[in-house]
């Protein structure tokens, strides 16, 4: 892997990537339809809605109904995409997701926008920090969490083409480094090694993957060669890649803009505790709500940045036996 390819081409919101991917999928697949719950532009669905007005269904601020309608559309052979803020699409509609979507095992793409504290000034009510936890326990559900706008675009298309049943695609609001290339592709269920190393493995998802890469550069200066794993598919988790990271690096740090409990931290712990237990540290939210503020300052305050990853990696490196 050539690390030099990871330079920031400019900040871009994953929400924009999601919207571009949806538009592209709409052009390719006539059965793709989208549902709006009033915040269409805010969640990146406006591109699709303008291009395909006959395939855009406005249902207003009624998320539970949106989810049920998605199920009905899917039963009739459509591929519905219903995106709204993750706090609503994963949490307000959890029962509809469980029964109408997951128990019926219907191919519906659920967009979870406004993930993480990087939502910023809107504050705690609108910062989705529990969505991964809820979605990943649902039988039949796939959970995707792309790391930048380019990957978000690929994630929507992969959700439609590669996945079966319901798929949750998590994305953010703030413009963040866009650093992956489209040529890297998106294979659902496969972790990506973004940097080689064997002193510790940083396993990251979403916006935290860029932070993990920055942390690895810092750690390199101290002589700690950290592997960076990008987990764009939280479920099904690429267990072999995680087990290899544990075996070859001997220590793990997980990094997510989400509650550690139930989130990526839990998912990785479940795999390594069973297969190859090694010391692990967690970067993420620790049982607290977010708050209002500038996105990057909030990420700093809640320990969701490269600096926090560096500290946790040093700590876990010292915990390595022998």
């Amino acid at each position: 892997m050539d690390y030099s390819q990871f330079s920031n081409r400019g900040n871009k919101a994953t929400k924009t990537g999601f919207g571009e991917g949806l538009l592209e999928a709409g052009k390719k697949y006539p059965e793709v339809v989208a549902i709006g719950a009033d915040i269409t532009a805010s969640v990146g669905v406006d591109l699709f809605a303008s291009a395909f007005p006959g395939r855009f269904i406005s249902l207003g601020i009624a998320e539970q109904n949106c989810m049920g309608v998605s199920a009905g559309l899917a039963l009739m052979g459509k591929i519905p995409v219903f995106a709204t803020y993750g706090v609503f699409s994963a949490l307000r509609t959890t029962d509809q997701v469980r029964i109408s979507l997951c128990y019926n095992n219907l191919h519906v793409i659920i967009g979870g926008a406004h993930s993480g504290v990087s939502v910023g000034p809107d504050g705690a009510t609108h910062q989705a920090l529990e969505d991964i936890a809820v979605m990943r326990v649902m039988p039949n559900m796939t959970v995707l969490s792309p790391c930048d706008a380019t990957q978000a675009r690929l994630a929507v298309i992969a959700a439609i083409e590669q996945c079966k049943g319901p798929v949750y695609v998590r994305y953010g609001r703030e413009a963040m480094p866009d650093f992956t290339s489209p040529e890297m592709g998106f294979e659902a269920g496969k972790a990506q090694i973004f940097r080689e190393g064997s002193d510790a493995a940083i396993i990251a998802t979403g916006h935290m993957t860029w932070e993990a890469l920055q942390a690895a550069i810092e750690l390199e200066k101290e002589g700690i060669h950290a592997r960076v794993l990008n987990i764009h598919t939280i479920k099904p988790l690429d267990e072999p890649a995680v087990i290899n990271a544990a075996r070859e690096c001997g220590a793990i740090v997980t990094a997510e803009e989400h509650q550690v409990a139930g989130g990526l931290g839990s998912a990785i712990s479940e795999v390594i505790s069973k297969n190859y237990p090694v010391p692990i540290e967690f970067v993420g939210m620790h049982d607290s709500f977010g708050e209002s503020g500038p996105p990057l300052e909030l990420m700093k305050k809640f320990g969701l940045n490269a600096e926090a990853i560096v500290q946790k990696t040093r700590k876990v490196f010292l915990r390595k036996p022998g």
Binding site: G68, V69, Y103
Partner: protein
């Protein structure tokens, strides 16, 4: 072959009797399940499956079929009995209700592969949304299929039902028909004591639905209501079918304690004889 339909009242009556007897038999064998609502909805399902809907038991996934969505999953026994009566699967299988490995789950589960079952459901307040989505899709594809959705009256206390009601009217889904099994009873007692629904007709009218009322145990009344649905070409229709919980068995009619109860084997024998009369 599409199931031939009938408007013969006596033929429908005989079918409904057989369906009610199957319900009693399967519940007694299961030892648990919901008798009251199964009996109150029996005539509605009989009318739909034998007099109204286009469907083909030999080809359950026929694209051109009308769809029936059971939102109140707990009355699965009467749906199963109706599907079996229509020939979707052998009636013997009804005796596997609620047993391990059965295709007849306590609440409908499509993952078990029962032919004719359109939706896994059981958490209240979701079916009308699903039916709304199906009706939207049918319109997009210019399919002339109609979507029928049976809701319970107690279920209307779920707010999500009214989200769906708003959406179906907004999108002018004249291919959607909701039927309310208005038996007036829920687990804690009468609906008007637990959480009042009246004036129910006015509520649906205010939400923009073509609203009909009928006697849910009178086949002429039911058939005539279904014939009147969607005459106004821009509105979804709702039929508020006035029914009795436990209908067909005098000793349990209207008794809320029979909402979620199965008869004993002895009771079942007596009930089956009573239904036959």
């Amino acid at each position: 072959m599409v199931l031939p339909l009938t408007n013969g009242v006596s033929a429908l009556g005989e079918l409904a009797k057989a369906i009610r007897q199957s319900v009693v038999r399967s519940l007694a064998r299961a030892g648990s399940g919901h008798l009251g609502g199964s009996m109150s909805s029996a005539d509605i399902l009989t009318t739909l499956y034998f007099s109204v809907m286009r469907h083909d038991p030999a080809n359950p996934s026929w694209t051109g079929r009308d769809r029936f969505i059971l939102s109140i999953g707990h009355i699965a026994p009467v749906l199963y009995a109706t599907l079996a009566e229509a020939g979707y699967f052998p009636k013997d299988e009804l005796l596997s209700l609620r047993k391990m490995g059965s295709r007849l789950q306590g609440h409908p589960g499509r993952d078990h592969g029962l032919p004719g079952l359109e939706l896994s459901a059981g958490s209240l307040g979701q079916g009308l949304s699903v039916a709304t989505g199906m009706a939207i899709a049918a319109k997009m594809d210019r399919l002339d299929s109609r979507i029928y959705c049976l809701c319970g009256d107690g279920e209307l206390q779920e707010g999500s039902v009214w989200e769906a009601a708003m959406a179906a009217a907004h999108h002018q889904l004249n291919n959607l028909v909701a039927v309310i099994d208005r038996n007036g009873v829920q687990i804690d007692g009468s609906t008007e004591t637990v959480m009042g629904l009246e004036p129910l007709k006015k509520k649906w009218e205010a939400f923009g639905w073509d609203t009909l009322e009928c006697d849910g145990h009178d086949f002429r009344s039911l058939m005539s209501s279904f014939q009147k649905t969607n005459v106004e070409q821009t509105r979804p229709s709702v039929i508020i079918a006035k029914t009795k919980m436990g209908k067909g068995i005098k000793s349990i009619e209207g008794d809320y304690r029979w909402h979620g109860k199965a008869p004993s084997m002895e009771q079942a024998e007596a009930f089956i004889l009573e239904i036959a009369r």
